[in-house]
């Protein structure tokens, strides 16, 4: 079943004298349960594409449908609500609200969704356990390492039970060990819970773990390959 349909999407930045065609005629579909990496050289349009998928930005032309719903038809406050209900986000760094503990950061998004307290607590706890932070519930972000913060961010992204999670270079600021741990957790959640992950990366070891690799260059998709078999992370 298709979660995301991208139909001939263009994004042109006109802000300066130079016209930048950041996304150039991209058409892609994503199915439920994918674990897809978007790769490509710097400036190839990865972030721009993810922003369009996340409804943070609107395409210059073309259509993005999420579960059949056209993002460009939504008003800005509806778009925020749409993101809350459908999309999980993991940013490169400083994802978390500094004044909230790990537990509260994860619970926060469910509070926005008006999920009742008991369910919130249970889910928060199981998610933080799943990302290996069951013992750091009461730590504030400043007390966590970069890798731990990113794992909290993943837990938060999943807390709202989104249709898919977008992660723009989630490992860019992590050392290779922390990067590997994070990816393993994501991969496990994908495999066991059927969570759809779409992430961009420069890191070849992360690329190896993806089951689908989409390569961009100058805003165009130059290759889109689906690996036949799920990778064993140990061999990565």
């Amino acid at each position: 079943m298709k979660v995301i349909e991208i139909k001939d999407v263009n994004k042109i930045y006109n802000s300066t004298e130079i016209k930048v065609h950041a996304v150039n005629g991209v058409s892609l579909d994503f199915d439920q349960g994918e674990f897809a990496a978007i790769v490509g050289p710097s400036g190839s349009g990865k972030t721009t594409l993810l922003n369009l998928l996340g409804g943070l930005d609107l395409p210059t032309s073309g259509k993005i449908l999420i579960d059949g719903e056209d993002l460009s038809k939504l008003k800005s406050s509806q778009l925020i609500d749409f993101r809350l209900r459908n999309i999980g986000f993991v940013f490169q760094s400083y994802n978390l609200i500094p004044v909230l503990t790990a537990e509260e950061n994860v619970g926060f998004i469910m509070a926005l969704q008006k999920i009742d307290r008991k369910e919130r607590e249970e889910r928060t706890w199981s998610l933080l356990k799943a990302v290996g932070l069951g013992d750091r519930l009461n730590s504030r972000p400043a007390k966590l390492s970069g890798g731990q913060q990113q794992r909290v961010a993943v837990a938060r992204a999943l807390a709202s039970r989104p249709k898919f999670v977008l992660a723009d270079e989630p490992t860019a600021n992590l050392d290779s060990k922390a990067a590997k741990t994070l990816l393993e957790i994501m991969e496990k959640l994908n495999r066991e819970e059927k969570i759809t992950f779409i992430f961009s990366t420069h890191d070849p070891r992360v690329v190896k773990m993806a089951r689908r690799v989409i390569t961009l260059e100058d805003g165009k998709v130059i290759s889109d390959e689906v690996k036949k078999q799920s990778n064993d992370p140990e061999n990565g």
Binding site: L56, I80, L84, F91, Y94, I97, V99, L100, L112
Partner: protein
């Protein structure tokens, strides 16, 4: 985790910045309140003084008297009209007065004076001249004699500072002499012996005696029992002259009046000026003296007085003073305005810093699905909390100062005091008890705060999420 908790934690994430912002609001509110309270307190006192010792709250006058205050514009004030006015529920007392100018002479000095013909009994409820008679006076001789007595060193020093000061009671005297309650029994007899003053109030039928202001007595060098000669122009141009014995000296809290006033029974004044049965005004004191009651009372009185007469409010009667106060008030407001402007810039500085620092965080929150209005609500709440902390601390800290200043007003001594008196002000600075002005100061701060809040909300609504996340 509700919005309040989140806001609360946010304001303490940068403790120093929060404290500096709250402290600047605190100081602005604190100083503005004290300044305002002293300013308004002084006005209040000055107006009360002049109203209670002279003008009354409302006067009934002949139509033209206000523009041309001469005896020819006086009127016949009969008992019937006085009774009619007195029957109004808010009228405490009403007395006739005959007021005119004269030249006073004593020895070789002369001075222009205001002769006030008063009803000695009725005036007890109006200008209370009988309560203002001088009981003690620190004349040169008195001080000389007191210096030879056993008095505390401090008191001897203070004696010189308060040279020539007149006292209508022992309380002020003891205060100025730096004496406490327990010294009173030892020291007071000494002051009684050398510095006391025998004074008499006017009697209805006494056609030979007057009471003069303490300032006037100083100027003319006159004391009890001395003679004062008054020369002036009477009703319809007749000449007026009389010789009187000074029966009392009164300390009138308005220096403007104290320096020129001569009180005599109204019938004596009528005789002096050849104005039989005439009055220049009927002076009215009120029970409730707030603006609303005064206006209501004036409305009722206007219905009952004859057409040839008019009512003049204390504001009209003291127009010069009202104008002076208005000008002074405006300059005070400008000062406070500048104070608030400085504070507003300070608050804006910290708000801008806060917004810049948290731009990325706001962007993340909006990305993951927090509505802008909810986010704006949290931020507005934070600013409101910080602002209210400052306002409340300022209000609370100012209360003891203002209340103390009202009960124990700041008094000027020596040269400073005479300087104030030269300008026609009583040398005293009481504060005004907390009143509507407290509310206004708070409202002004809240307006500044709302501007900062409005600005923050706008910033949040205009936030470019993508750019901010990159940052």
């Amino acid at each position: 985790m509700n919005d309040f908790q989140m806001a609360w934690r946010n304001i303490w994430r940068n403790r120093r910045r929060t404290l500096i912002t709250a402290a600047s609001v605190f100081f602005a509110v604190f100083f503005a309140l004290i300044m305002r309270s002293v300013q308004l307190g002084s006005y209040d006192r000055m107006f009360k003084n002049v109203i209670e010792s002279y003008s009354g709250y409302i006067q009934v006058q002949q139509k033209d008297y206000f523009d041309e205050p001469v005896l020819d514009n006086s009127f016949e004030l009969d008992q019937g009209l006085l009774d009619l006015i007195a029957s109004d529920p808010n009228v405490k007392a009403v007395v006739p007065r005959l007021e005119s100018f004269a030249l006073a002479a004593a020895g070789s000095s002369t001075q222009g004076v205001v002769v006030m013909g008063i009803d000695p009994q009725g005036e007890k409820e109006v200008s209370e001249v009988h309560n203002r008679l001088v009981r003690f006076k620190l004349t040169d001789e008195a001080i000389k004699a007191l210096m030879n007595e056993t008095l505390p060193e401090r008191t001897k020093k203070l004696l010189k500072i308060f040279k020539n000061e007149a006292y209508t009671g022992t309380g002020r005297l003891m205060l100025d002499m730096g004496l406490s309650e327990k010294d009173t029994s030892d020291v007071l007899p000494v002051f009684r012996k050398y510095a006391s003053f025998s004074n008499y109030y006017l009697e209805e039928e006494d056609s030979m005696s007057v009471i003069i202001g303490d300032g006037l007595s100083d100027y003319l060098g006159l004391s009890i029992g001395d003679t004062i000669v008054l020369i002036g122009q009477g009703y319809h141009g007749v000449s007026a002259a009389g010789k009187y014995t000074i029966r009392g000296i009164a300390k009138i809290p308005s220096p403007d009046i104290d320096n020129i006033v001569v009180y005599m029974p109204v019938n004596t004044a009528r005789k002096l000026y050849g104005a039989h049965g005439l009055s220049t005004s009927a002076v009215i004191m009120m029970n409730n003296t707030d603006e609303k009651s005064l206006v209501a009372t004036a409305g009722r009185l206007a219905e009952v007085i004859p057409e040839s007469l008019v009512l003049r409010s204390w504001k009209e009667l003291n127009a010069l003073m009202v104008n002076q106060m208005d000008a002074d008030n405006k300059s005070g407001m400008i000062m406070i305005g500048i104070l608030y402007l400085v504070i507003a810039f300070g608050v804006f500085g910290t708000v801008l810093m806060m917004l810049a620092e948290r731009r990325r965080e706001f962007a993340v929150l909006i990305s993951i699905g927090m509505q802008k209005h909810k986010l704006a609500g949290v931020v507005a709440f934070e600013l409101l909390l910080i602002g209210l902390m400052g306002v409340m601390a300022g209000v609370i800290a100012s209360l003891p100062v203002v209340i103390y200043g009202n009960i124990n007003p700041l008094r000027f001594k020596g040269q400073m005091a005479s300087m104030w008196e030269d300008y026609g002000f009583e040398p005293i600075m009481p504060t005004l008890m907390p009143d509507a002005y407290y509310l206004w100061q708070t409202v002004v701060v809240l307006i500044i705060l709302s501007i900062a809040i409005f600005f923050s909300i706008r910033k949040i609504y205009k936030l470019n999420v993508i750019q901010s996340i990159k940052a």
